[in-house]
């Protein structure tokens, strides 16, 4: 039985390497782009709140609604629904490129919410202290908000990355490959239980590594 498993592992080795690579590419690219957009949106969601440095009820409400709308769609539906948009942005709707656009549209609003709540943890009193010292709004964002929230921001990014790994497993639908795709095609459709088990184990490994890394970095950054 176990010997059987190792035989199968050797047989599909190239497939695993290939799919890990694909998952890796999808996650890293989508993460970098989503994190940039999500952080920007998160900052806007915080500073346009009533009573904050750039208080603006209209911007805040509009952003709130847009993010809620995007957050309502399950990834598999979102991916199909935004096909025209994907085509417009990268010129194709298939492959890794075609998967990154929906992954970003799915992850960025989620990260925006996670990072927003991280930034909201920053003590308003510290912001007030910086205002009393004559800090500019930009200095308040970079030196207070982003700096003080670092541990929580890292934890938020970790959660976002894990959900990204999960969503990327569905990208097989548009032919982007990845671990999820292998699990469905080989594990389920061709009924190779050993491939299924390996894919599950590899996904668990992914999540474990991301979470441990995130927790360790956050712990280092937290000085209390």
């Amino acid at each position: 039985m176990l010997g059987n498993f190792f035989d199968s592992f050797a047989e599909f080795w190239d497939l695993y390497v290939q799919s890990m690579r694909e998952t890796g590419i999808m996650v890293v690219y989508s993460l970098v782009i989503s994190a940039a957009i999500g952080l920007l949106l998160g900052i806007v969601l915080v500073v346009t709140r009533p009573g904050h440095i750039y208080a603006n009820p209209i911007v805040y409400q509009v952003m709130n609604i847009i993010i809620n709308v995007l957050r309502s769609l399950p990834f598999i539906i979102l991916m199909v629904a935004i096909i025209p948009f994907t085509k417009w942005v990268v010129g194709t709707t298939i492959g890794v490129k075609g998967a990154i656009v929906p992954l970003v549209v799915y992850t960025a609003p989620y990260l925006a919410r996670l990072l927003e709540s991280a930034l909201l943890e920053v003590d308003r009193g510290v912001i007030e202290a910086f205002q009393s010292m004559g800090a500019t709004h930009r200095q308040i964002i970079t030196r207070v908000l982003l700096r003080e929230a670092r541990p929580s921001l890292v934890l938020g990014l970790t959660i976002g990355t894990i959900s990204l790994v999960g969503a990327s497993a569905m990208a097989g639908v548009v032919g982007a490959g990845g671990l999820g795709d292998v699990a469905i095609r080989y594990g389920y459709q061709r009924w190779e239980p050993n491939v299924m088990i390996t894919c599950v184990l590899l996904l668990i490994l992914w999540v474990q590594i991301v979470q441990s890394l995130g927790t360790a970095i956050a712990k280092r950054l937290r000085k209390r």
């Binding site: 003590d123 202290a129 205002q131 009393s132 010292m133 004559g134 800090a135 003080e148």
Partner: protein, 342 residues
């Protein structure tokens, strides 16, 4: 130096109008320590934030050294704020920065060169007595030490004014003492004008030169601390003074006196400064053949002045008692006849 003219601040919360500050006019002189006392919700927090425009007044003007803050552009206002340090009840330090970096903040915001930052921060940490803690993080410090860091930070930009927002309210009595001593030292050595708000009369008594009493957004009484202490006008002021020395005699004692065959007259005598030295009781006995009996006595220090209160019961001829009261009144003492019958 600081002039507030008819300052009002109105907030709207869920369409409810909240008048936090109502028509406040006051002036703080260069080099003094000015205290604002009131219960929580009296509007003092809002008022002190109007001084550096963290809250813009809805009406009225705030001038610093004759410059109306409302006339300044954003950039000029920020420059003015650098000359107004501020410390807070909750310290408001950056938890992710060391003591050194926290104190260096105002200098870095202003773009000071590195060697100047090192020199200045070293000096400031020396003043507040935390030189050896410069590499620590705020979470490793006690409340008093955090407030010292905050004070050092507030002084880093060489301010002319220091605003203290309930700076000692989160500290235990002993730490409060040491922080108040430090504020007094800063005021005396560096001639920094201090405006503080508090709900503790003790803070006013210990370091303030002048005081304003706030109630429901209004300043109901203001003046030199000694005058306010010896002649409080408003009920709320009397209440605050009572928190540090209660000049009222216990009911049971009053009842006892009432039952006396010759209850005589109850007098409350308040005195400040030099008069403490005069043997007034002996004078009453010798000059007017009265028999003074001390019911209650208290001597305290109001900043640098001795301030005492004495409640005595005098018995003797009614005419002599009146003459005695006249004599005391001529001595620049505060005399009050206590009506214990009612």
């Amino acid at each position: 130096m600081i002039q507030l003219k008819n300052v009002s601040k109105v907030f709207y919360q869920n369409k409810h109008k909240i008048e936090a500050v109502k028509n406040v006019t006051l002036e703080v002189q260069q080099g003094e320590i000015f205290g604002i006392i009131g219960f929580s919700g009296a509007g003092k927090s809002t008022l002190i934030r109007c001084i550096n425009f963290l809250e813009r007044p809805t009406e009225g003007t705030v001038s610093i050294n004759g410059v109306d803050l409302a006339s300044l552009k954003e950039g000029q206002l920020r420059k003015t704020r650098r000359k107004i340090g501020m410390i807070f009840q909750t310290f408001n330090l950056l938890s992710s920065n060391t003591v050194f970096d926290n104190v260096a903040t105002p200098l870095r915001l202003a773009g000071a060169p590195r060697n100047e930052i090192n020199r200045k921060v070293g000096e400031l940490l020396e003043i507040v007595g935390l030189k050896e803690k410069e590499a620590m993080y705020p979470s490793q410090l006690s409340g008093g030490q955090k407030q010292r860091v905050a004070i050092a930070r507030a002084l880093a930009s060489d301010p002319e004014i220091l605003l203290c927002d309930e700076a000692t309210s989160a500290l235990d009595p002993q730490t409060t003492e040491s922080i108040l001593e430090l504020l007094l030292e800063i005021n005396r050595k560096y001639h920094i004008t201090i405006v503080l708000i508090t709900h503790e009369m003790h803070v006013i008594k210990k370091i303030c030169d002048r005081v304003a009493v706030m109630e429901n957004g209004k300043v109901v009484e203001q003046g030199k601390v000694l005058d306010v202490f010896s002649r409080p006008q408003q009920a709320i002021t009397k209440n605050f003074i009572k928190t540090i020395f209660d000049v009222n005699l216990p009911e049971s004692l009053l009842a006892q006196i009432k039952q006396h065959d010759d209850p005589g007259q109850l007098l409350r005598i308040s005195f400040a400064g030099d008069h403490v030295a005069e043997p007034i009781l002996a004078e009453l006995a010798v000059k007017f053949a009265l028999r003074p009996n001390i019911m209650y006595g208290n001597i305290t220090q109001i900043k640098d002045t001795t301030f005492g209160t004495l409640v005595i019961r005098v018995t003797g001829e009614p005419a002599a008692i009146q003459a005695g009261i006249d004599y005391l009144s001529g001595l620049e003492l505060q005399i009050e006849v206590i009506d214990y019958a009612g």
